[in-house]
Amino acid sequence: MKPPRLADHLLTWFCAPHLREEVLGDLHERYALRVTRLGEAKARRRYWRDVLAYVRPSIIRRQPTQFSTPKTTTMLRNYLKIALRNIVKNKAYSAINIGGLAVGMAVAMLIGLWIYDELSYDKYHQNYNRVAKVMQRGIFEGVFGAGGYMPLPLANELRTDFADDFTYVVMSSWTREHILAFGDKKFTKQGNYLSPEAPDMFTLKMLRGTRAGLKDPASIMLSESVSQALFGSDDPMGKIVKIDNRLNVKVTGVYEDLPYNTEFRDMNFIAPWDLYVSSEEWVKRAQDNVEWNNNSWQILTQIAPNATFDAVNAKIKGLRVKHVPETAPYKAEVFLQPMSRWHLYTGWDKQGNVEGRIQYVWLFGIIGLFVLLLACINFMNLSTARSEKRAKEVGIRKAVGSVRAQLISQFFSESLMVVAFAFILSMLVVILVLPLFNEVADKQLGILWTNPMFWLSGIGFSLFTGIIAGSYPALYLSSFQPVKVLKGTFRVGRFASMPRKVLVVIQFTVSVTLIIGTILVFRQIQYAKNRPIGYDRNGLITITMNTPELHTHYNALREELLRTGAVIDMSTSSTPATDLNSQNGGFEWEGKDPNFKAQFGTIAVTHDFGKTVGWQFKEGRDFSRNFTTDSAALVMNETAAKYMGLKTGSPVGMIVKWNGKPMRVLGVIKDMVMGSPFEPVVQTVFMLDYNWAGVINIKLNPEQSAPESLAKIETVFRKFNPGSPFDFKFTDQQYALKFATEERIGKLASIFAMLAVFISCLGIFGLASFVAEQRTKEIGVRKVLGASVFSLWGLLSKDFVVLVTIAFGIATPLAYYFLSNWLHKYEYRTDISWWIFAVTGAGALGITLLTVSYQSIKAALINPVKSLRSE
């Protein structure tokens, strides 16, 4: 009949000692009363309730007059006070410690935010876990290929034959620029044509209208920002908007802009898929003729709640071969790429292994950890280096009666306080540099003020850092024997500085590896930038042909533009010179191995294309208006000529049949880099076709200033094409965009590498100052005996130089290994030349000497009278 013991324990724990007796007594007495009155079960319940009701400040508050044990707040306050005094007393040391840690933590925090953003990509969509893109893959001549270009009838088949497996099947055009006009306001905006279920699948947040807004084929849904641009603060619902100057549609909804970290962030409007089919002749044809061979669109799906990706994949994988049997030899398969993998696992290497941005997430995660590690190492090193200075203090404290636990608490509270300051400082740093970081990283990161995970990890990680960093001094210093220390015979053993040296070597290994890596990334970018591109991109601009007027008035437009003198030449092509996204099979020629399924990149151009972009002929001639037979002719690039594998060497004059249509090869041009500058050039054929035009290419007159020329061009364009805004792109800028990812990664890596070096230098700066201080007497004696300043400088610097050299020796093979792996993924790559290592090594040594020199020269210059007179 005893009251609950656990409750008693709880009460004893939180109740102030001076109240314990009466409170417990009261409770027990009442319990006894209640047992007789209410029975045991009820009494126990009440007992618990009473105990919990005692959790209040007046019960918990301890009496100040009571003797306090070392664990109580009184002692803690004492620890913190002493810690603060120590921090203030050794200003330089604290600045190095706090500054270094803060930088390391800030880097880790930035990287953490970056990784968080990468991992939370597309999570805006509530059906994140069930949405997938339909894709197809195959093995073509031993090379794995996968893509999201899908045939139109597949969507219908998924909808009907696999109705149980899919909640939504959505046809989608590719996000591209269209002209939206309302009254005389015209904008070029990116958007998609999508099936009516799309808003449900994307779980768009509707600001006006409902998600059912695409049911009517003459409707459009706008993002908030587009609505703002077109209508300002007016109500857009029901207003008529014109797409590409020819389709009138009614606004049936406005949705919240998709966040920056989503795949569809550029989807600024959604128009109905049916409108697309009815307005685009070639799409209608594909639908009417059930063209399984025309892979031109995307299919997005959401699988049913009871379906799994694996199960659905197993069912649908044969669909491609079923409808297009000739793809069987390529092991063609249809599969679903879940939304959760869209961003981070986008790529496949030639063997079909998954790769993608996830590598960068790992890379940066590791860099972040290392930078943080470097900062912790500094902290530990400096604390242990100071151990001799504090040895006396420890001895006296122990002699006076300190227990070891108290000393440990003291040192931990010191390190935790330093970490706390560093954490606050690092938050400030992050707040300050975040805008800059966002710009470099092309992100829109913010500090996650409201995310408990952020605070938990921040605080957890500070505690961890504080304990790890403080552990060595706390455990090591507190173990000193007071007798030895105070007798003055205390000497740190021969190997005491060994761990410190190892840590310095680790620091520099990391730093040097990072530097080598960064240099190589930039070398690789520079190498690809210097690659001969086979055409002249200076003064070349492209304009999208997105209205019917441009097609009908093309010739008149061209003539008038040439007359202005602002334009040297003008032509159209199916894609800009910076873009090659169409590949076709079905090519035959004489002497071709019948088993060789040739595939060429295909581009339609007009007569003047060559002169406009300035391609260079290796042999043969350009298209010419003088030969009417040129309408069935093609020009190919060098790679294509080689790819054909002709025994005679040159294909010029040969007939190449494409889907049965014979075309004469007019000439071979030098390779033009149209795709990725890191990849080999694709075998490409250029065909004459005025109907398959996508963009207008214009070569500006170099004699005139570009703004002047553009103004003239704009006037002419306005005349022929009044319905659309005058938007153009400079080809050299478009080309530069191809390096964006690599440059971004390179810039980030270089910033982190620099900070890593900075932290490491801070560390040896601190160490050097302690070494110099330690050896003041020795230096004094040496000076008195006639040592020169230079020899003293050498004496003090030698140790560090040795350490850095060892680090360099370790870093070199490491860096070589990782970087040759990294470079391997680029077809067009620079080599890892020896001078990178030489320069980095020399740089690291130079920086080390510079850092150490300040302290060693200061020590060497000090007047020996001063240093020897003390004590």
Binding site: V23, G25, D26, E29
Partner: protein, 111 residues
């Protein structure tokens, strides 16, 4: 006199102490209150009220004898101080004055 110093619950507790003197301690007070009001009164609430009243100087306390049910622990016995007594009687006087001013026929209309 700072009347706001005395909460309703405190007033009842103070009264209970007055009634139970010289054997007033938290358990009997709590039990007494439970009996009088018909509601459960937690030991903690009474304890807190007693602590507050003592702080205000309306009560004084000494540690009393121990009993077996208490596991041999002593109890804190409360008595009302002169100040406490005065406050109590003033409170009562205020109430009585108000009661006296209620016109009887209005009183009938309450129910």
């Amino acid at each position: 006199m700072r009347r706001s110093d005395l909460g309703e619950f405190e007033e009842v507790v103070l009264l209970a102490v007055a009634v139970l003197t010289p054997k007033a301690y938290s358990v009997v007070i709590a039990e007494e209150l439970e009996r009088e009001t018909g509601q459960t009164v937690s030991t903690g609430a009474v304890h807190a009220a007693l602590q507050r009243l003592e702080q205000k100087g309306y009560l004084s306390s000494v540690l009393g004898e121990a009993t077996a049910e208490r596991g041999g622990r002593r109890k804190r016995i409360f008595t009302i101080t002169a100040l406490g007594g005065r406050v109590l009687s003033e409170v009562q006087a205020v109430r009585v004055r108000f009661w006296d001013r209620i016109i009887p026929n209005i009183r009938l209309e309450w129910s």
